[in-house]
Amino acid sequence: MGKFLKIAATGAVMLGLMCGTAAYAQEIVVGLITKTEGNPFFVKMREGAQAKADELGIELRTFAGKFDGDNDSQIAAIENLIASGAKGFAIVPSDSSAIVPTIQQARDAGLLVIVLDTPLDPIDAADATFATDNRQAGRLIGEWAKGTLGDAAATAKIAMLDLAVNQPTVDYLRDQGFMEGFGIDVKDANKYGDEDDARICGHEMTGGAEDGGRTAMETLLQKCPDINVVYTINEPSAAGAYEALKAIGKDDGSVLIVSVDGGCPGVANVKDGVIGATSQQYPLLMASMAMEAIKKFAETGEKPAVTAGLNFFDTGAALITDKPVDGVESIDTAKGAELCWG
């Protein structure tokens, strides 16, 4: 058994070395590191990067963590890329501060590091950040919910279904953006849970998935049976919250659910009235732009620029709803379905 394993392992390594040197000797090597393979957002990102890399004639190596928050796998991936002589890579950090020292190592080794989707902490630890303006994405759904309720917004009861206890950047940016859009005093704009507005029923964590969304919604409904606005971190958790509402017969449109992401199932849920409005983001664009930027850097040494007024490049967010509100720009679900991912 042991002997067989050894021979097999040696064989596999040799085969890998042969393929590696023969096929890709002259190409520019770039990397893409995402959080997990299970999330369609990152799968779409990988597909977008692969298509662009093929078009540009560069060699793409992709990596992903085992679960959301898996920092160790991402460190190993960066080390692999440095060792393999990559010119640069794009990464969606699982832990926006713990990964910083490793990213610094890569930059010291001359690689261009582009962060996608989730900014680093501090954001300038990367050469560039291509991301959705998550605060703006939150503001859009907040403004829409406020506009839809009209005068009733002053007496609304709001459930906040967030991502995780440690409040990763994307989590607090969307949450606080929503509150700003709705007209709630957010106190510390980079932290949720410190607000004293009586309209907020409470914050519960969903883990960004359906089962967590349902349990979180049930808990908040127990606290405040009169909830009529539900903010959700993403569309899977929104779908879970809707199941909780359905179970008590509140799926009649009396409760507004808003979300962020713009995945295809999410857009379909907006069309079916499960979700009132969602802010759509564009992972494919982030990934393909990163591939172009790294190639350009490899050839000319030029680094990408940022959007005016922000410290990152905003890849945009669009509000998707079939019930538009005056003063809040939006697109309908037909258009959203064309642009959706996953």
Binding site: G38, K66, E204, Q222, A239, E243, A247
Partner: protein, 358 residues
């Protein structure tokens, strides 16, 4: 050891006072503790039951009428149903002194097979369902073969298959979620477990919860009233002695892992009923949560001792703590803290009870 130390300390004390005989003093005090130890050894579900009752009492005061209401208590039952079903599977495995880290992955994989085949591929829902259940059985069987025939440690086997089944989840699902609305239009049978029955007073019982109780009752019967069940306990308690007594421990183990796989597949049906959608995300901690339920329920990680009722109580305790603390307005991180403390207390108690047989 600590018993001996305490015993000699009391003995010394007794000699110093010298009014009573050493022997009689010795008998009285450790006797009480011993009797409690013996009682808990005979009735291992007593502790989780007491914790549950005390917990309900405390939260009824701390969180008020919102907690102690028929609807809310039935909600806790709904929320723990999935972990409860997985916990039953996990109990079977832990009774054989094993562990199964892949229960959550088997559940998700079965649900993905059911959902993908029926909604995406257009296979009739009955066939998709059977294939989904079959997937769970197969996964459990593979675990069993690797543990019993190839004789690898269960922790390592299921650590490996957890990854493998996880990869299959991504491969088969293509990382796509199947929406609740699509399932109810094309394959409503998959959502049957979400059906609800009003019990009166606001309490709601879901089909999923009833299935959980049904599975628990069946497994309880198998464990306590059939030869196979007694073989499971015997194999877990002392595999060598069981083998010498004529029990085929190898196929008992294969049977246990396969049965656990089947129960995980049933859990996937319950999961779709509750969540509505079929999603490759989510239930990331289900495997560990199921172990938590088993441990808090008083089943020994060393095998051979424990019960299905204890596991259901364990799952309810965790659900009750999360619900009660949330309603009392306690931050989420303290809910995690409380669950962690419960695990430590449960295992410590188990270690202490185990000494009686030593």
């Amino acid at each position: 050891m600590s018993d001996d130390a305490a015993g000699s300390a009391t003995a010394d004390k007794g000699l110093a006072n010298a009014t009573h005989g050493v022997a009689s003093f010795d008998e009285e005090r450790p006797g009480l503790v011993r009797r409690l130890q013996a009682f808990l050894h005979t009735y291992p579900t007593a502790i989780p039951f007491i914790v549950l009752v005390v917990g309900v009492a405390i939260f009824s005061v701390a969180a008020g009428s919102k907690f102690f209401a028929p609807f809310n208590l039935s909600l806790v039952l709904q929320q723990v149903t999935i972990i409860g079903v997985l916990g039953i599977a996990q109990t079977l495995i832990i009774l054989t002194a094993g562990i199964d880290l892949s229960v959550g992955a088997i559940m998700i994989l079965s649900s993905i097979v059911m959902g993908r085949l029926s909604v995406t591929a257009g296979v009739p829902v009955e066939i998709s369902f059977v294939l989904g259940i079959g997937t769970g059985i197969l996964c459990g069987f593979i675990n069993g073969i690797l543990v019993a025939l190839v004789k690898l440690p269960p922790f390592i086997v299921t650590l490996g298959t957890w990854s493998i089944y996880g990869a299959m989840i991504i491969f088969i699902s293509n990382s796509e979620t199947i929406r609740s609305q699509d399932i109810s239009a094309i394959a409503p049978m998959l959502q049957w477990m979400g059906a609800r029955v009003a019990l009166g007073g606001g309490a709601i019982l879901t089909a999923g919860s009833m299935v959980m109780i049904l599975i628990a009752a069946t497994v309880w019967y198998v464990l306590n009233r059939t030869a196979f069940g007694r073989h499971i306990y015997a194999t877990g308690d002392d595999p060598e002695a069981a083998r010498l007594a004529g029990i085929n421990t190898t196929w008992t183990l294969v049977g246990v892992y396969t049965l656990a796989g089947f129960i995980c597949a049933l859990a996937s049906w319950v999961l779709i009923g509750r969540v509505g959608a079929v999603s490759p995300l989510g239930s990331q901690t289900a495997n560990l949560d199921s172990i938590t339920a088993v441990v808090i329920g008083g089943t020994s990680l060393f095998g051979g001792r424990g019960s299905i009722v204890g596991t259901l109580l364990g799952a309810l305790i965790v659900g009750m703590f999360r619900n009660g603390l949330a309603l009392a307005g306690v931050d989420v991180l303290w809910q995690e803290f409380a669950v962690g403390a419960l695990i430590i207390i449960a295992v410590t108690t188990d270690q202490w009870i185990r000494k009686i047989s030593a």
